[in-house]
Symmetry: C2
Subunit: 472 residues, 2 copies
């Protein structure tokens, strides 16, 4: 793996890649933006959507909000306008002519079909240098500059109720991870504390610090709404996939699918949410019940027997309906319509500090977790071929594409390219985005089978695990 | 499966099996015991072990406590004394000559090597008839007596700090399950509520009601200590395995191992325990910290940086040591030595209502969950052969025997018997218990590889999934 890392770094440096941002302030609030500035002619940010409960005056928000796409797309002002066109929904990828992303990573994105004013997804791909806090002992190091180490970083951020949180996270989360990883240099082997568990802890805490920074700056100009975050860190032979939200990562290896994340929604996190409502009933504000029922209960049903589930149960049982059971359930709805407090459909992510229950002052943030689940994949345990890839996608991809369909597309597209052609991963990312978007017809965007395509923002990274980094 | 159920029921009935107990009282407190009465010469119950915090006078506890072994062992007073002999540790199984357990289930047990006065494991195996609450619509039914249905039931209970809770659970838990399953008759298909999820909910609630009954009767004569509970219910083609504690169930099918439970210990439940301590700090009584550290912190380390994990983290990170961090950690120790509040090594089970932190009045019960995790296995989805078995064991088995070693013993023992010989499953259970106990040598009980055998109580059920029920 050392060779792969070195060649990728060399590639980046030789192609004129700027060093990653290195803010001096510990709270990172002054970190330079990796995004292009708002072009004067760019459309203005939409007001936060219903339920965001932002208390900042609308005018101020609009005046300061930015619309941007990832730097690596190298969009001109005209290109930015085309990327922002809901009617055309042109697929965007980094240009063939520019510098290539690390590891020849493929990327493609498309804006939604009109559900929000701008594309609320954001993405980031960086090589990040970590300066040690002090002298290092016992920790192996890869392409070194001085006493530090480097990690590779990919991030997808799916914003909601505005694009500010996703934009901020795409600009700063890797800086928080870098800050946390400085502690690696203090590490010396201790009972049950492995190097891997320190990297996991660093990523977990970086998510928390990112969220806290958003809380501090939420009255400022950019932190409207919230975002899901799906992040990959490559360090010292291991791939760390951290997910907070409903994006998804899978590895396709020799045709086999290896899930690298799970989604956090009101359905998958029902018991965590119910437990919190049970232990801290004040968070329910007298408006909600922590119990779940198969349907809304009518007042006339008081005293009757009804099926329910509480925080301890995976099955259903009967109880006698009491007055409190008539409140609205904390968790309700199924599938994409499942909601916490009738408001939000994802239960982990960054931001949402101003999110309130509709027509209420009850905050929803206490039920949302900013902590990711981190899965680790050891790249050195398997001899990867150029067709083995890690695919990251926002829910726009996965809403209409199964893991198996993605694996089939991986096979179909990559086999049409030479193994050492670095453009094959971009072609694959584009094929995945196109396959989820579909084509415009009379009644919306349609897939070849005439089912509805995704009307959501769609963003995809394809990271080769044994690709051109080793071959080109 | 209908054939299997009918033939097993017929077998039980023809061999003189008594109908399962059917208490009339809704709270089951008057249910008749399925265990033999204490013989006058039986040794007396030990005082509760350190940390049990029982407030009942010792004399009263001893006078009323019972020592018993499962009814189906059909032990004479002399046999009961031999089963209670720590020096001989004779393996006990139901006699060849008596009635066979349902499904020709195999069972074997052995007492500990002296860690407690009596064998604190208990077991139960029953066919239970459920009378419907009212007329049934839409629910298929198996061997019917009137308007009800039957389920098959196996339970293993591993007691601690006394044998009372395990004894009570082995006598009553299936009655609570029967009571809960009466609601099945009210079921008509509702959105997202399956028949399976109702059985799961019934089992979950039965565990809770069992625990509540122990709480009500804890000042009485028998409910000393607590117990792990591992329970199997077979109903309408499906096997439900419910586990609360550190016992384990695996299916060995065509040589393949299918885990049917997971263990609940301070290590596997660390985050649940820490979350509770964080949200309800009053439960820590100012004596414990919810944070985990790799080692105990010294007062002189105040202000220094130390690795820690909180309720949100799976990895480790650094924090500055504060005064609160000097408290004893809520969760500490590794492996079999892991403890909650320095006291107990299992985090789910029944009872323990009087359990206090050593030399303190701080109750531990709030951190213990009585809810099982229920896994479902559909027996009809696979054509089972007579060598496919479900193995249940208390931790005495699993502490010294891996899943693979159990699978190898399954293969070795069953291949030595004719497929239609119903005694093969008892022979297998005995081989598993013997293999975990070892033989007495100079320095304790030893396995053939000279490692220490298990000094704990060991109890094993072997349930054939395609066995003599279909063949004999």
């Amino acid at each position: 793996m050392l060779n792969r890392v070195r060649s990728a770094v060399a590639h980046l440096v030789s192609s004129g890649g700027a060093p990653p941002p290195r803010p001096k302030s510990p709270d990172l609030s002054n970190a330079p933006s990796a995004q292009p500035a708002v072009p004067p002619e760019a459309p203005r940010s939409p007001p936060a959507r219903a339920g965001s409960g932002s208390s900042a005056p609308a005018k101020t928000v609009e005046a300061r909000a930015s619309f941007s796409r990832p730097t690596f797309l190298q969009l001109s002002p005209g290109g930015l306008r085309r990327a922002d066109d809901h009617a055309g929904r042109a697929v965007q990828s980094p240009p063939d002519t520019g510098r290539r992303l690390p590891w020849s990573t493929g990327y493609a994105e498309v804006i939604n079909a009109g559900k929000s004013r701008h594309n609320e997804d954001q993405a980031c791909c960086e090589v990040v240098y970590v300066e040690g806090r002090r002298s290092v002992s016992g920790v192996p190091r890869e392409p070194s500059r001085g006493q530090g180490l480097c990690f590779y970083y990919w991030g997808l951020f799916d914003g909601h109720a505005g694009g500010g949180a996703a934009e901020m996270a795409s600009r700063l989360l890797h800086c928080h991870i870098r800050e946390q990883l400085k502690d690696l240099s203090c590490w010396s082997s201790q009972k049950e504390v492995t190097h891997e568990s320190l990297v996991v802890g660093a990523i977990e805490n970086a998510f928390q610090f990112m969220d806290e920074q958003m809380a501090r700056e939420r009255h400022g100009h950019q932190v409207e709404g919230g975002c899901c975050a799906l992040v990959v860190v490559y360090l010292l032979g291991k791939v760390y996939v951290a997910n907070a939200g409903d994006s998804r990562a899978i590895i396709v290896r020799n045709g086999e699918i290896i899930p690298m994340s799970r989604e956090f929604t009101p359905e998958t996190e029902r018991q965590r949410l119910q437990l919190l409502g049970f232990l801290k009933p004040e968070l329910l504000g007298g408006e909600f019940t922590h119990l779940e029922f198969p349907r809304r209960i009518q007042p006339k049903e008081l005293g009757q027997r009804m099926l329910y589930r509480d925080q301890n149960m995976t099955g259903w049982a009967y109880k006698k309906i009491e007055l409190e059971d008539l409140r609205f359930p904390l968790v309700c709805g199924e599938g994409k319509k499942a909601r916490v407090m009738a408001t939000i459909g994802v239960t982990r992510g960054l931001g949402d500090h101003n999110l309130k229950v509709c027509s209420s002052t009850l905050p929803i943030k206490p039920f949302l977790s900013c902590f990711p689940e981190v899965r680790v994949y050891d790249l050195t345990q398997y001899e990867h071929c150029p067709d083995d890839v890690l695919v990251l996608g926002t829910d726009g991809l996965w809403d209409v594409t199964s893991d198996c369909e993605v694996a089939a597309t991986v096979d179909r597209v990559l086999s049409a390219y030479e193994p050492n052609d670095p453009s094959r991963y971009t072609a694959l990312a584009q094929a995945l985005v196109l396959g989820a978007r579909g084509t415009p017809r009379d009644r919306g965007w349609r897939l070849p089978n005439n089912k509805l395509g995704s009307g959501d923002d769609i963003s995809v990274f394809v990271i080769p695990l044994g690709g051109p980094g080793s071959y080109s």
